[in-house]
Structure formats: structure tokens, C-alpha cells
């Protein structure tokens, strides 16, 4: 097979997917209950993280996953990051650790895309969790390029 470059940035065009006309009867309401959301911008000490079920999502996920708000964001506090492009990721590890230790979050759910580089976000979370003096259940969900759920499991 010819070398096709990084699978994370390889082009794909889902031509057979017409603009889908299964618009919900009512407008989908945003389930976001905080600002900011980017992991560099948020503080683990923000009130919305205290004791919360936290969703740590790779940037691209929200665009691929049709039901992001209703099925995944609902009831959770959010942080987003890109493990491929973001700088100073050691700060991410510290922040996730602080979410576990200081914000005493209830659970951590990592939402990532199927592309290989995205698993870096899960690894960051695992490193942070291992160094934390408190334990929380961590779940990861892998999303396909067309928004399908490929895997969902507890770490």
C-alpha cells in the first residue's frame, strides 16, 4: 500500500451522505452550562467542575457526533483539547490531575475520534489519573468519522 500520510489528516468525503433531512421536531437545545471550555482556558477550581461528571472531548468530536449535546454533553461539565495540535500539554496533565484531586470530580469521560493521534488525549488522562492521589472511574468513547460510536469502555 502506498504511503498516504497521517491518517488523522487524510481526506475523506462522505458523498453518499445527502444533507440529512431527519431534523428533530423541536430545535435541539444547547446543553452547555459553562464558559470557557478549552482546557488551557478553564480552571479546575471553577464551580462547575466541583463533584461533576466531566466530559473531556477532543475538538473534532462535536462536529462528527450528531447527538453530542443531547446524548453526551447533557448533565456534564466540559473541557476540550486537541492532543495533536495543542501546545504545552504538560499543563493539560496537571489540570486533569487537579480536576480529580481538587475539584473531586465524580467521573471522567473521554470522547475521542477514531484517528490514531486522538488516543493521545486518553493517554494524557491516564497519566494524570495515575499521578492523582484520588481515583475516579474513567470511560472512553471512540467516535467514527461519520459520527458512529465505535467503542465505549471503562479504563
Amino acid at each position: 500500500m502506498a504511503f498516504e500520510g497521517c491518517p488523522g489528516s487524510r481526506m475523506a468525503h462522505f458523498q453518499d451522505k445527502e444533507a440529512q433531512d431527519d431534523t428533530p421536531a423541536a430545535k435541539v437545545k444547547s446543553q452547555l452550562r459553562q464558559w470557557p471550555v478549552q482546557l488551557h482556558l478553564v480552571s479546575p477550581l471553577a464551580p462547575y467542575y466541583q463533584g461533576a461528571d466531566v466530559l473531556l472531548s477532543a475538538d473534532c468530536v462535536a462536529y462528527a457526533l450528531g447527538d453530542f449535546h443531547t446524548d453526551y454533553l447533557k448533565g456534564k461539565s466540559l473541557a476540550i483539547a486537541c492532543p495533536k495540535l495543542d501546545a504545552e500539554q504538560e499543563i493539560y496533565v496537571e489540570k486533569i490531575k487537579s480536576l480529580i484531586e481538587d475539584a473531586k470530580i465524580n467521573t471522567l469521560t473521554i470522547l475521542i475520534m477514531q484517528v490514531p493521534c486522538c488516543s493521545g488525549l486518553l493517554r494524557l488522562a491516564e497519566v494524570a489519573a495515575q499521578s492523582a492521589n484520588r481515583k475516579v472511574p474513567i470511560k472512553y468513547i471512540i467516535v467514527g468519522l461519520q459520527g458512529e460510536i465505535l467503542q465505549e469502555a471503562w479504563v
Binding site: D53, I105, N106, P137, K139, W154
Partner: protein
Amino acid sequence: MERYLNKGIKQVIIEFPAVGSILDEYNIGCTLCGVGACLLKDIVEVHNLSPEEERELMGRISKVIYPDRVVEIPVTQRKNGGAGAGEVKYSPPMQGLVDEHTVIKRLLAMIPFIIEDMEVSRGEDRALVLGTVDFIRSYADRYHHAKEEDILFKEFDENLDIIKVFNEDHKIGRGHVKAVIEALETGDNRSIKEHLAGYRELLKGHIKREDEVLYPWMDRNLSTSQIGRLFAGFINVDEQFREVRAKQGAFVKTLEKKYKYEEVK
């Protein structure tokens, strides 16, 4: 068929014993269950059959109940797809309970050795029985069963038949232990043996059904937030029972050494 779908499974099996054998073939141990109050229609969801298995199973059951006509069987509505039974991967709090089962099963495996040629007037035999009772009371009951009853089951509607069944087993188990203690006082060897063996049989089945049916079903129905709450609650109890866990873990090891029994992996 609707009428039977809403009937307790034990009732259905009494009326149609062949249904019991069919369920056994699918490893659904309703014939062994002491309570059997689950409704026939719930069996499919509780045991997480795949849609193909469900169609086949319900088709066969309806043939037993109505041998001479074709019956329309409603498909069970399930929350989480019905992936079919595969290898079970538990959530972190459930995995903790399954690990505790492993310790309890190791103790259960020692009971036949303990009661063989047991004579409670002998100090050593008496101490072994007392140690076993202490394990059951402190580790299996006050630690593990209390985690289930006071924390886990509270996340569900306790009037659900499936919860009642497992609570009932815990009660029967306590009855066996009480009987062992009474028999120790009167020096009744036969009764001690009978009730320790009875406890072992009961718990073996109970643990198997929790590992294979109850916990996976619960995991499918618990929200992420509930899993977090259970996890935190269990860690709390683990802290409180740190000494009990160490002491009883060591007791099981001592027994395994004494009877040269290889650890259950």
C-alpha cells in the same frame, strides 16, 4: 402469549416444565432460582440475549405453551441494544464487587475440607468453624453484602423482582450462619456440616448469578453519574473495612495452605 409474558417465570415453569429445560439450554438458570418472580418478558432483557437468540428462545417457548397455533411474540424493548452475551467487562465499582466474590469463592472452596471429619468438641475444629463464621459475617456479609444492600441496590427500585431475589438469598445465608452458631453451642456436628454446606451451595449460585446476570444488567442500566457515586461509596466502605479485608484475606490463605489447595486464579 401476552398473558404468559406477564406471568412470574416460576409459575410458567410449573405449568410448563419444558420451558424450564429450554431456559436451561440458554444458560438462564431460572429452574435453580429460589424465588423466580421475574416475569417471562423480563428474562430476555435481564439476560441480555441477542435479538436472534431472543426470537429463537421465545419461538420455542410459545410452541410449548401453544403447541397447535402460531403466536405473535412482541419484541422486547431494550435500553441498550441487546448486544448478546459476550465477554463481560464490568464498570470499575462492579469490578470491585466481582473481585470480592473471588475472595468469597476461595473461602467457599475450603468448606468441604473444613467439615470433612469435623468434630467440634476438638479445639482445632471448633476454631476453624468459628473462623469460617467470622469470615462469613464480617467479610461476606457486613462488608460485601452490605455494600450491595446499602449502596448498590439503592440505585434501583427495590421492589423490582430481580433485586428481591438477591436480597432474599442474603437472608437465607444469614439463616444458615445463625443455625451454625446455634449448633456450635449444642455441639451438633451434623447441623454445622449441613448449614455450612448449605451456605456454600447457596452462595456459589448467588455469586454466579450476580457475576453473569445481575451486575451486567445493572451496568447496562446505570448512568455514568451513578457509576461515579457507587465508586465513591464503595471506596468509603473499603476504607472502613481495611482491617477486616486484611484479616480475612489472610485467613483464606491460611486455609489454602493447610489443605494444600491451589489459589483460585
